[in-house]
Amino acid sequence: MSGQQPARGEEISTKLLSVYGREPLLPDDREYKTWSANGTCFAYAIATWCFLTGGYAASLVGAVQGMVCLIAGNLIGVFLVSASLSAGCQRYGIEQIDFCKPSFGQNGARVVLIFYLLNMIGWSGLILVMFGNGIVNIVEALGYHAPSWLVGAGVALGIWLTYIITTRGVHLLSLFNSIITPALIVIIVFMFYMLISSHGWAEILAAEPLDPLPSPWMNYAVCLELGVASGMSWWGGIGFLARNTKTRRNAIYPEVLQLGLIFGIVCSIALFSGLVVGSDDPTKWMVPLGGVFMGVLALLFVALANITSTSVSLFASGLALRHVPALRKTGWRMIIALTAVPLAFFVVWPNELYDLGDAFLAYNGTMHAPVGGILLVDYFFLRKQQLHLRSIFEAAPSGQYYYLGGFNILALACVVIGQLTYFWVYNPFTDEAQPIFQFLPASIAAFILPAAIYWVGMRYLRIGGPLKAGAEEPVVADKLVEPNI
Protein backbone atom coordinates (compact mmCIF):
# COMPACT_ATOMS: atom_id res chain seq x y z
CA MET A 1 0.00 0.00 0.00
CA SER A 2 2.71 2.40 0.98
CA GLY A 3 4.49 1.60 -2.21
CA GLN A 4 1.57 3.01 -4.17
CA GLN A 5 1.53 6.34 -2.39
CA PRO A 6 4.39 8.03 -4.23
CA ALA A 7 2.85 7.08 -7.56
CA ARG A 8 -0.50 8.48 -6.48
CA GLY A 9 1.17 11.60 -5.10
CA GLU A 10 3.08 12.04 -8.32
CA GLU A 11 -0.13 11.66 -10.31
CA ILE A 12 -1.86 14.31 -8.19
CA SER A 13 1.18 16.55 -8.41
CA THR A 14 1.31 16.47 -12.22
CA LYS A 15 -2.45 16.95 -12.47
CA LEU A 16 -2.30 20.02 -10.23
CA LEU A 17 0.64 21.31 -12.22
CA SER A 18 -1.39 21.16 -15.40
CA VAL A 19 -4.48 22.69 -13.84
CA TYR A 20 -2.58 25.55 -12.22
CA GLY A 21 -0.06 25.85 -15.03
CA ARG A 22 -0.07 26.01 -18.79
CA GLU A 23 0.38 22.37 -19.75
CA PRO A 24 -2.27 21.02 -22.11
CA LEU A 25 -5.16 19.70 -20.02
CA LEU A 26 -5.96 16.09 -20.82
CA PRO A 27 -9.66 15.13 -20.93
CA ASP A 28 -9.40 13.36 -17.55
CA ASP A 29 -8.03 16.54 -15.92
CA ARG A 30 -10.99 18.66 -16.97
CA GLU A 31 -13.65 19.67 -14.47
CA TYR A 32 -16.60 20.90 -16.52
CA LYS A 33 -19.39 18.68 -17.76
CA THR A 34 -22.65 20.07 -19.14
CA TRP A 35 -24.17 21.24 -15.86
CA SER A 36 -20.99 22.68 -14.34
CA ALA A 37 -19.97 24.38 -17.61
CA ASN A 38 -23.38 26.05 -17.82
CA GLY A 39 -23.35 26.83 -14.10
CA THR A 40 -19.95 28.47 -14.22
CA CYS A 41 -20.80 30.47 -17.34
CA PHE A 42 -24.13 31.48 -15.82
CA ALA A 43 -22.56 32.65 -12.56
CA TYR A 44 -19.87 34.41 -14.58
CA ALA A 45 -22.55 36.08 -16.72
CA ILE A 46 -24.92 37.39 -14.08
CA ALA A 47 -22.44 39.19 -11.90
CA THR A 48 -22.82 42.90 -11.40
CA TRP A 49 -21.18 43.69 -14.73
CA CYS A 50 -24.49 42.99 -16.43
CA PHE A 51 -26.15 45.40 -14.02
CA LEU A 52 -23.47 47.95 -14.86
CA THR A 53 -24.05 47.43 -18.60
CA GLY A 54 -27.85 47.61 -18.20
CA GLY A 55 -27.55 50.80 -16.15
CA TYR A 56 -25.35 52.36 -18.80
CA ALA A 57 -27.87 51.41 -21.52
CA ALA A 58 -30.68 53.00 -19.47
CA SER A 59 -28.93 56.33 -19.92
CA LEU A 60 -29.30 56.09 -23.72
CA VAL A 61 -32.42 54.22 -24.83
CA GLY A 62 -35.79 52.94 -23.71
CA ALA A 63 -36.79 49.40 -22.81
CA VAL A 64 -37.45 47.85 -26.23
CA GLN A 65 -34.48 49.26 -28.13
CA GLY A 66 -32.23 48.63 -25.16
CA MET A 67 -33.32 45.02 -24.86
CA VAL A 68 -32.72 44.42 -28.57
CA CYS A 69 -29.27 46.03 -28.47
CA LEU A 70 -28.16 44.23 -25.33
CA ILE A 71 -29.34 40.73 -26.24
CA ALA A 72 -28.56 40.81 -29.96
CA GLY A 73 -25.30 42.71 -29.50
CA ASN A 74 -24.06 40.35 -26.82
CA LEU A 75 -24.90 37.25 -28.84
CA ILE A 76 -23.05 38.60 -31.87
CA GLY A 77 -20.04 39.74 -29.85
CA VAL A 78 -19.68 36.57 -27.80
CA PHE A 79 -19.98 34.28 -30.81
CA LEU A 80 -17.46 36.19 -32.91
CA VAL A 81 -14.75 36.01 -30.26
CA SER A 82 -15.59 32.64 -28.76
CA ALA A 83 -15.90 30.50 -31.90
CA SER A 84 -12.16 30.12 -32.47
CA LEU A 85 -11.08 30.38 -28.82
CA SER A 86 -13.54 27.74 -27.64
CA ALA A 87 -12.77 25.34 -30.44
CA GLY A 88 -8.99 25.70 -30.18
CA CYS A 89 -8.57 25.86 -26.41
CA GLN A 90 -10.90 22.91 -25.90
CA ARG A 91 -9.34 20.81 -28.66
CA TYR A 92 -5.77 21.23 -27.44
CA GLY A 93 -6.40 21.87 -23.73
CA ILE A 94 -4.46 25.13 -23.82
CA GLU A 95 -5.23 28.52 -22.35
CA GLN A 96 -5.88 31.53 -24.52
CA ILE A 97 -2.52 33.30 -24.52
CA ASP A 98 -0.95 30.06 -25.77
CA PHE A 99 -3.72 29.93 -28.37
CA CYS A 100 -2.57 33.36 -29.59
CA LYS A 101 0.96 32.12 -30.34
CA PRO A 102 0.25 30.57 -33.77
CA SER A 103 -0.98 33.95 -35.00
CA PHE A 104 0.97 36.47 -32.92
CA GLY A 105 4.23 34.60 -32.37
CA GLN A 106 5.96 33.44 -29.20
CA ASN A 107 6.74 36.96 -27.99
CA GLY A 108 3.90 38.72 -29.80
CA ALA A 109 1.42 36.80 -27.67
CA ARG A 110 2.88 38.57 -24.64
CA VAL A 111 1.67 41.88 -26.07
CA VAL A 112 -1.83 40.39 -26.06
CA LEU A 113 -1.10 39.20 -22.51
CA ILE A 114 -0.63 42.80 -21.35
CA PHE A 115 -4.01 43.79 -22.83
CA TYR A 116 -5.52 40.68 -21.32
CA LEU A 117 -4.24 41.32 -17.81
CA LEU A 118 -5.38 44.95 -17.92
CA ASN A 119 -8.83 43.72 -18.95
CA MET A 120 -9.09 41.09 -16.23
CA ILE A 121 -7.76 43.32 -13.47
CA GLY A 122 -9.91 46.26 -14.60
CA TRP A 123 -13.12 44.21 -14.60
CA SER A 124 -12.22 42.58 -11.28
CA GLY A 125 -11.57 45.97 -9.71
CA LEU A 126 -14.85 47.46 -10.96
CA ILE A 127 -16.80 44.47 -9.69
CA LEU A 128 -15.11 44.60 -6.32
CA VAL A 129 -16.03 48.29 -6.01
CA MET A 130 -19.62 47.32 -6.73
CA PHE A 131 -19.24 44.61 -4.09
CA GLY A 132 -18.14 47.39 -1.69
CA ASN A 133 -21.05 49.60 -2.78
CA GLY A 134 -23.37 46.66 -2.17
CA ILE A 135 -22.12 46.40 1.42
CA VAL A 136 -22.69 50.14 1.88
CA ASN A 137 -26.25 49.81 0.59
CA ILE A 138 -26.92 46.82 2.82
CA VAL A 139 -25.71 48.77 5.85
CA GLU A 140 -27.83 51.78 4.92
CA ALA A 141 -30.90 49.67 4.17
CA LEU A 142 -30.62 48.26 7.68
CA GLY A 143 -30.79 51.80 9.06
CA TYR A 144 -27.12 52.33 9.93
CA HIS A 145 -24.78 55.07 8.76
CA ALA A 146 -22.15 53.82 6.30
CA PRO A 147 -18.80 55.60 6.68
CA SER A 148 -17.02 56.66 3.48
CA TRP A 149 -14.16 54.20 4.01
CA LEU A 150 -16.56 51.24 3.93
CA VAL A 151 -16.43 50.89 0.12
CA GLY A 152 -12.65 50.50 0.20
CA ALA A 153 -12.90 48.10 3.13
CA GLY A 154 -15.46 46.09 1.14
CA VAL A 155 -13.03 45.91 -1.78
CA ALA A 156 -10.31 44.66 0.59
CA LEU A 157 -12.70 42.01 1.95
CA GLY A 158 -13.58 41.00 -1.61
CA ILE A 159 -9.91 40.61 -2.52
CA TRP A 160 -9.34 38.40 0.50
CA LEU A 161 -12.38 36.18 -0.25
CA THR A 162 -11.34 35.92 -3.88
CA TYR A 163 -7.82 34.90 -2.87
CA ILE A 164 -9.19 32.17 -0.61
CA ILE A 165 -11.41 30.70 -3.34
CA THR A 166 -8.90 31.01 -6.16
CA THR A 167 -6.08 29.34 -4.28
CA ARG A 168 -8.33 26.37 -3.46
CA GLY A 169 -8.80 25.55 -7.14
CA VAL A 170 -11.37 24.98 -9.85
CA HIS A 171 -13.20 22.33 -7.86
CA LEU A 172 -14.14 24.75 -5.06
CA LEU A 173 -15.09 27.35 -7.64
CA SER A 174 -17.37 24.82 -9.31
CA LEU A 175 -18.89 23.84 -5.93
CA PHE A 176 -19.39 27.50 -5.00
CA ASN A 177 -21.17 28.11 -8.30
CA SER A 178 -23.47 25.14 -7.80
CA ILE A 179 -24.78 26.83 -4.64
CA ILE A 180 -24.82 30.46 -5.77
CA THR A 181 -26.25 29.87 -9.23
CA PRO A 182 -29.72 28.59 -8.19
CA ALA A 183 -30.01 31.39 -5.61
CA LEU A 184 -29.23 34.00 -8.26
CA ILE A 185 -31.81 32.55 -10.62
CA VAL A 186 -34.41 33.00 -7.87
CA ILE A 187 -33.29 36.59 -7.23
CA ILE A 188 -33.39 37.64 -10.87
CA VAL A 189 -36.80 36.04 -11.39
CA PHE A 190 -37.96 37.82 -8.22
CA MET A 191 -36.57 41.16 -9.46
CA PHE A 192 -38.35 40.71 -12.75
CA TYR A 193 -41.55 39.71 -10.97
CA MET A 194 -41.39 42.82 -8.76
CA LEU A 195 -40.78 45.01 -11.82
CA ILE A 196 -43.83 43.60 -13.58
CA SER A 197 -46.15 43.38 -10.55
CA SER A 198 -45.27 46.76 -9.00
CA HIS A 199 -44.74 48.83 -12.13
CA GLY A 200 -46.11 46.85 -15.07
CA TRP A 201 -45.07 46.60 -18.71
CA ALA A 202 -46.74 49.86 -19.63
CA GLU A 203 -44.62 51.85 -17.18
CA ILE A 204 -41.44 50.04 -18.20
CA LEU A 205 -42.08 50.60 -21.91
CA ALA A 206 -42.98 54.25 -21.36
CA ALA A 207 -39.93 55.05 -19.21
CA GLU A 208 -37.65 57.62 -20.82
CA PRO A 209 -33.88 57.13 -21.07
CA LEU A 210 -32.03 58.79 -18.20
CA ASP A 211 -29.47 60.88 -20.06
CA PRO A 212 -29.72 60.41 -23.87
CA LEU A 213 -27.56 61.98 -26.56
CA PRO A 214 -29.26 64.59 -28.82
CA SER A 215 -29.49 62.26 -31.85
CA PRO A 216 -31.97 59.32 -31.59
CA TRP A 217 -30.09 57.11 -34.09
CA MET A 218 -26.86 57.77 -32.20
CA ASN A 219 -28.38 56.49 -28.94
CA TYR A 220 -29.44 53.27 -30.66
CA ALA A 221 -26.08 52.84 -32.38
CA VAL A 222 -24.10 53.51 -29.19
CA CYS A 223 -26.26 51.08 -27.24
CA LEU A 224 -25.78 48.39 -29.90
CA GLU A 225 -22.05 49.07 -29.78
CA LEU A 226 -22.20 48.68 -26.01
CA GLY A 227 -23.88 45.29 -26.45
CA VAL A 228 -21.40 44.01 -29.05
CA ALA A 229 -18.35 45.32 -27.17
CA SER A 230 -19.46 43.86 -23.86
CA GLY A 231 -20.07 40.54 -25.64
CA MET A 232 -16.55 40.65 -27.04
CA SER A 233 -15.12 41.52 -23.65
CA TRP A 234 -15.82 37.92 -22.61
CA TRP A 235 -12.66 37.14 -24.57
CA GLY A 236 -10.76 37.21 -21.28
CA GLY A 237 -12.60 34.28 -19.72
CA ILE A 238 -13.48 32.07 -22.67
CA GLY A 239 -10.22 30.15 -23.04
CA PHE A 240 -10.10 29.27 -19.37
CA LEU A 241 -13.66 27.95 -19.44
CA ALA A 242 -13.30 26.06 -22.73
CA ARG A 243 -10.01 24.47 -21.72
CA ASN A 244 -11.70 22.88 -18.71
CA THR A 245 -14.60 21.30 -20.65
CA LYS A 246 -14.68 17.67 -21.65
CA THR A 247 -16.62 17.99 -24.92
CA ARG A 248 -16.66 20.49 -27.77
CA ARG A 249 -20.36 21.21 -27.37
CA ASN A 250 -19.81 22.01 -23.71
CA ALA A 251 -17.10 24.42 -24.73
CA ILE A 252 -19.13 26.69 -26.98
CA TYR A 253 -22.87 26.29 -26.33
CA PRO A 254 -22.72 27.40 -22.67
CA GLU A 255 -20.65 30.41 -23.68
CA VAL A 256 -23.06 31.53 -26.38
CA LEU A 257 -26.18 30.75 -24.36
CA GLN A 258 -25.02 31.95 -20.94
CA LEU A 259 -22.49 34.70 -21.72
CA GLY A 260 -24.46 35.86 -24.77
CA LEU A 261 -28.17 35.21 -24.33
CA ILE A 262 -28.58 35.03 -20.54
CA PHE A 263 -26.17 37.92 -20.01
CA GLY A 264 -28.24 39.98 -22.47
CA ILE A 265 -31.49 39.06 -20.75
CA VAL A 266 -30.16 39.94 -17.29
CA CYS A 267 -28.73 43.17 -18.70
CA SER A 268 -32.24 43.92 -19.95
CA ILE A 269 -33.75 43.34 -16.51
CA ALA A 270 -31.11 45.71 -15.20
CA LEU A 271 -32.04 48.18 -17.94
CA PHE A 272 -35.71 48.00 -16.90
CA SER A 273 -34.74 48.51 -13.26
CA GLY A 274 -32.59 51.52 -14.12
CA LEU A 275 -35.36 53.06 -16.22
CA VAL A 276 -38.04 52.52 -13.56
CA VAL A 277 -36.00 53.48 -10.49
CA GLY A 278 -34.37 56.38 -12.38
CA SER A 279 -30.79 55.58 -11.42
CA ASP A 280 -27.91 53.95 -13.27
CA ASP A 281 -26.32 52.75 -10.00
CA PRO A 282 -27.23 49.03 -9.75
CA THR A 283 -26.75 48.83 -6.00
CA LYS A 284 -29.57 51.35 -5.56
CA TRP A 285 -32.19 49.23 -7.36
CA MET A 286 -32.61 46.23 -5.11
CA VAL A 287 -34.14 47.82 -2.00
CA PRO A 288 -36.66 50.06 -3.87
CA LEU A 289 -37.75 47.06 -5.96
CA GLY A 290 -37.82 44.32 -3.32
CA GLY A 291 -38.20 46.11 0.00
CA VAL A 292 -35.61 46.03 2.78
CA PHE A 293 -35.57 42.28 3.49
CA MET A 294 -35.59 40.97 -0.07
CA GLY A 295 -33.46 43.88 -1.27
CA VAL A 296 -30.74 43.16 1.26
CA LEU A 297 -30.92 39.43 0.54
CA ALA A 298 -30.64 40.10 -3.19
CA LEU A 299 -27.68 42.42 -2.66
CA LEU A 300 -26.00 39.78 -0.53
CA PHE A 301 -26.28 37.03 -3.13
CA VAL A 302 -25.27 39.30 -6.00
CA ALA A 303 -22.26 40.32 -3.91
CA LEU A 304 -21.33 36.66 -3.44
CA ALA A 305 -21.70 36.07 -7.18
CA ASN A 306 -19.31 38.97 -7.73
CA ILE A 307 -16.73 37.16 -5.66
CA THR A 308 -17.19 34.05 -7.83
CA SER A 309 -16.76 36.07 -11.01
CA THR A 310 -13.69 37.81 -9.69
CA SER A 311 -12.27 34.43 -8.69
CA VAL A 312 -12.63 33.14 -12.27
CA SER A 313 -10.92 36.31 -13.54
CA LEU A 314 -8.07 36.00 -11.08
CA PHE A 315 -7.67 32.29 -11.81
CA ALA A 316 -7.37 33.01 -15.53
CA SER A 317 -4.98 35.92 -14.85
CA GLY A 318 -2.82 33.66 -12.70
CA LEU A 319 -2.57 31.13 -15.51
CA ALA A 320 -1.70 33.90 -17.94
CA LEU A 321 1.11 35.13 -15.69
CA ARG A 322 2.82 31.78 -16.25
CA HIS A 323 3.92 33.25 -19.57
CA VAL A 324 6.29 35.57 -17.73
CA PRO A 325 9.55 33.58 -17.55
CA ALA A 326 10.38 34.78 -14.03
CA LEU A 327 7.02 33.51 -12.73
CA ARG A 328 6.91 30.11 -14.40
CA LYS A 329 8.00 28.20 -11.32
CA THR A 330 6.44 30.49 -8.72
CA GLY A 331 3.92 28.85 -6.38
CA TRP A 332 0.23 29.19 -7.23
CA ARG A 333 -0.60 31.16 -4.07
CA MET A 334 2.15 33.65 -4.78
CA ILE A 335 0.96 33.98 -8.39
CA ILE A 336 -2.57 34.79 -7.23
CA ALA A 337 -1.25 37.20 -4.61
CA LEU A 338 0.74 39.01 -7.32
CA THR A 339 -2.34 39.15 -9.55
CA ALA A 340 -4.32 40.69 -6.71
CA VAL A 341 -1.73 43.38 -5.93
CA PRO A 342 -2.95 45.88 -8.60
CA LEU A 343 -6.44 45.56 -7.11
CA ALA A 344 -5.13 47.37 -4.04
CA PHE A 345 -5.53 50.62 -6.00
CA PHE A 346 -9.28 49.98 -5.88
CA VAL A 347 -9.09 49.78 -2.08
CA VAL A 348 -7.50 53.22 -1.90
CA TRP A 349 -9.41 55.01 -4.70
CA PRO A 350 -12.58 52.95 -5.25
CA ASN A 351 -14.90 55.69 -6.47
CA GLU A 352 -12.29 57.55 -8.51
CA LEU A 353 -11.41 54.39 -10.47
CA TYR A 354 -15.05 53.35 -10.73
CA ASP A 355 -15.81 56.63 -12.49
CA LEU A 356 -13.33 55.63 -15.22
CA GLY A 357 -15.48 52.59 -16.04
CA ASP A 358 -16.83 54.08 -19.30
CA ALA A 359 -13.34 54.63 -20.67
CA PHE A 360 -12.46 51.10 -19.63
CA LEU A 361 -15.41 49.66 -21.58
CA ALA A 362 -14.26 51.55 -24.69
CA TYR A 363 -10.73 50.22 -24.29
CA ASN A 364 -12.13 46.67 -24.20
CA GLY A 365 -13.85 47.12 -27.55
CA THR A 366 -10.74 48.41 -29.28
CA MET A 367 -8.62 45.49 -28.08
CA HIS A 368 -10.84 42.42 -28.27
CA ALA A 369 -12.38 43.05 -31.68
CA PRO A 370 -9.16 42.95 -33.77
CA VAL A 371 -7.61 40.14 -31.72
CA GLY A 372 -10.83 38.13 -32.07
CA GLY A 373 -10.93 38.69 -35.85
CA ILE A 374 -7.31 37.63 -36.31
CA LEU A 375 -7.74 34.46 -34.22
CA LEU A 376 -10.90 33.47 -36.10
CA VAL A 377 -9.26 33.79 -39.51
CA ASP A 378 -6.05 32.17 -38.37
CA TYR A 379 -7.60 29.10 -36.73
CA PHE A 380 -10.47 28.30 -39.10
CA PHE A 381 -9.44 29.65 -42.50
CA LEU A 382 -5.66 29.54 -42.51
CA ARG A 383 -4.78 26.60 -40.29
CA LYS A 384 -8.01 24.61 -40.81
CA GLN A 385 -8.21 23.89 -37.05
CA GLN A 386 -4.83 22.11 -37.06
CA LEU A 387 -2.21 23.48 -34.67
CA HIS A 388 1.29 22.20 -34.07
CA LEU A 389 1.06 21.88 -30.31
CA ARG A 390 4.76 21.35 -29.71
CA SER A 391 5.59 24.63 -31.45
CA ILE A 392 3.30 26.51 -29.04
CA PHE A 393 5.58 25.39 -26.21
CA GLU A 394 8.80 25.88 -28.18
CA ALA A 395 10.69 29.10 -27.49
CA ALA A 396 13.55 28.27 -29.89
CA PRO A 397 13.48 29.83 -33.39
CA SER A 398 13.03 26.33 -34.84
CA GLY A 399 9.37 26.37 -33.71
CA GLN A 400 6.71 26.99 -36.34
CA TYR A 401 5.32 29.99 -34.49
CA TYR A 402 8.51 31.94 -33.89
CA TYR A 403 8.20 34.31 -36.87
CA LEU A 404 10.62 37.27 -36.73
CA GLY A 405 12.25 37.56 -33.33
CA GLY A 406 9.20 35.91 -31.82
CA PHE A 407 6.78 38.50 -33.24
CA ASN A 408 4.30 38.21 -36.10
CA ILE A 409 4.47 41.85 -37.11
CA LEU A 410 1.48 41.49 -39.43
CA ALA A 411 -0.82 40.36 -36.60
CA LEU A 412 0.35 43.14 -34.29
CA ALA A 413 -0.04 45.71 -37.07
CA CYS A 414 -3.57 44.44 -37.67
CA VAL A 415 -4.42 45.03 -33.99
CA VAL A 416 -3.28 48.64 -34.35
CA ILE A 417 -5.31 48.98 -37.58
CA GLY A 418 -8.32 47.59 -35.75
CA GLN A 419 -7.96 50.07 -32.91
CA LEU A 420 -7.63 52.98 -35.34
CA THR A 421 -10.64 51.71 -37.26
CA TYR A 422 -12.67 51.60 -34.06
CA PHE A 423 -11.85 55.20 -33.16
CA TRP A 424 -12.46 56.35 -36.72
CA VAL A 425 -15.93 54.80 -36.82
CA TYR A 426 -16.83 55.86 -33.29
CA ASN A 427 -14.90 57.80 -30.69
CA PRO A 428 -16.39 56.85 -27.30
CA PHE A 429 -14.64 59.69 -25.50
CA THR A 430 -16.12 62.45 -27.67
CA ASP A 431 -19.19 60.59 -29.03
CA GLU A 432 -18.20 61.61 -32.58
CA ALA A 433 -19.10 59.03 -35.24
CA GLN A 434 -18.95 58.44 -38.99
CA PRO A 435 -22.27 57.93 -40.85
CA ILE A 436 -21.39 54.23 -41.27
CA PHE A 437 -21.82 53.85 -37.51
CA GLN A 438 -25.59 53.90 -38.11
CA PHE A 439 -25.32 50.53 -39.83
CA LEU A 440 -22.13 48.99 -38.49
CA PRO A 441 -21.00 48.88 -34.84
CA ALA A 442 -17.42 50.05 -34.38
CA SER A 443 -16.46 46.71 -32.81
CA ILE A 444 -17.66 44.81 -35.88
CA ALA A 445 -15.68 47.12 -38.17
CA ALA A 446 -12.63 46.67 -35.95
CA PHE A 447 -13.20 42.91 -36.16
CA ILE A 448 -13.69 42.56 -39.93
CA LEU A 449 -11.03 44.88 -41.36
CA PRO A 450 -8.01 43.52 -39.42
CA ALA A 451 -9.23 39.95 -40.02
CA ALA A 452 -9.42 40.58 -43.78
CA ILE A 453 -6.00 42.26 -43.92
CA TYR A 454 -4.48 39.46 -41.85
CA TRP A 455 -6.00 36.80 -44.10
CA VAL A 456 -4.70 38.43 -47.29
CA GLY A 457 -1.29 39.08 -45.73
CA MET A 458 -0.81 35.55 -44.44
CA ARG A 459 -2.48 33.66 -47.28
CA TYR A 460 -1.19 35.47 -50.34
CA LEU A 461 1.62 37.79 -49.34
CA ARG A 462 2.98 35.47 -46.63
CA ILE A 463 4.12 38.46 -44.66
CA GLY A 464 3.91 36.74 -41.30
CA GLY A 465 5.75 33.55 -42.23
CA PRO A 466 4.97 30.03 -43.44
CA LEU A 467 1.64 28.49 -42.55
CA LYS A 468 2.03 24.82 -43.34
CA ALA A 469 4.79 22.25 -43.31
CA GLY A 470 6.91 22.72 -46.40
CA ALA A 471 10.41 23.13 -47.73
CA GLU A 472 10.76 26.69 -46.46
CA GLU A 473 9.39 25.91 -43.05
CA PRO A 474 11.68 25.87 -39.99
CA VAL A 475 12.73 22.37 -39.02
CA VAL A 476 10.60 21.24 -36.08
CA ALA A 477 12.27 18.78 -33.71
CA ASP A 478 10.46 15.76 -32.25
CA LYS A 479 11.33 16.99 -28.78
CA LEU A 480 11.24 20.47 -27.31
CA VAL A 481 14.53 22.30 -27.75
CA GLU A 482 13.79 25.28 -25.52
CA PRO A 483 10.50 24.73 -23.65
CA ASN A 484 8.78 27.97 -22.75
CA ILE A 485 7.13 26.52 -19.67
Binding site: P24, L26, V68, L75, V78, F79, R91, N250, R390, L480
Partner: protein, 56 residues
Amino acid sequence: MSKQENTADVIADLERRIDTMQNMGDAELGTFSRVDWIVLVIISIVIPVIVVVLAR
Protein backbone atom coordinates in the same frame (compact mmCIF):
# COMPACT_ATOMS: atom_id res chain seq x y z
CA MET B 1 14.30 15.78 -5.67
CA SER B 2 16.69 18.39 -7.05
CA LYS B 3 15.48 21.43 -8.98
CA GLN B 4 17.07 20.02 -12.14
CA GLU B 5 15.27 16.69 -11.76
CA ASN B 6 12.03 18.52 -11.10
CA THR B 7 12.42 20.57 -14.29
CA ALA B 8 13.17 17.41 -16.25
CA ASP B 9 10.00 15.82 -14.87
CA VAL B 10 7.92 18.84 -15.83
CA ILE B 11 9.26 18.80 -19.37
CA ALA B 12 8.75 15.06 -19.66
CA ASP B 13 5.16 15.51 -18.50
CA LEU B 14 4.69 18.33 -20.99
CA GLU B 15 6.05 16.17 -23.83
CA ARG B 16 3.66 13.39 -22.85
CA ARG B 17 0.70 15.77 -22.80
CA ILE B 18 1.67 17.30 -26.15
CA ASP B 19 1.91 13.88 -27.77
CA THR B 20 -1.40 12.77 -26.25
CA MET B 21 -3.35 15.83 -27.33
CA GLN B 22 -1.71 16.13 -30.76
CA ASN B 23 -2.47 12.52 -31.62
CA MET B 24 -5.94 12.43 -30.11
CA GLY B 25 -8.77 12.21 -32.61
CA ASP B 26 -11.34 15.00 -32.69
CA ALA B 27 -14.07 12.50 -31.91
CA GLU B 28 -12.51 11.74 -28.52
CA LEU B 29 -13.31 15.30 -27.47
CA GLY B 30 -16.98 15.10 -28.34
CA THR B 31 -18.86 15.38 -31.58
CA PHE B 32 -19.38 18.72 -33.24
CA SER B 33 -20.91 18.72 -36.69
CA ARG B 34 -21.80 21.25 -39.36
CA VAL B 35 -25.31 21.26 -37.94
CA ASP B 36 -23.88 22.66 -34.70
CA TRP B 37 -22.21 25.49 -36.60
CA ILE B 38 -25.38 26.24 -38.55
CA VAL B 39 -27.43 26.35 -35.33
CA LEU B 40 -24.86 28.63 -33.69
CA VAL B 41 -24.68 31.00 -36.65
CA ILE B 42 -28.48 31.24 -36.80
CA ILE B 43 -28.77 31.86 -33.04
CA SER B 44 -25.83 34.21 -32.75
CA ILE B 45 -25.71 36.12 -36.04
CA VAL B 46 -28.74 35.70 -38.31
CA ILE B 47 -31.58 36.19 -35.82
CA PRO B 48 -29.84 39.01 -33.88
CA VAL B 49 -29.07 40.96 -37.07
CA ILE B 50 -32.67 40.64 -38.28
CA VAL B 51 -34.01 41.82 -34.92
CA VAL B 52 -31.58 44.76 -34.77
CA VAL B 53 -32.61 45.90 -38.25
CA LEU B 54 -36.32 45.57 -37.47
CA ALA B 55 -36.02 47.52 -34.20
CA ARG B 56 -34.00 50.36 -35.72
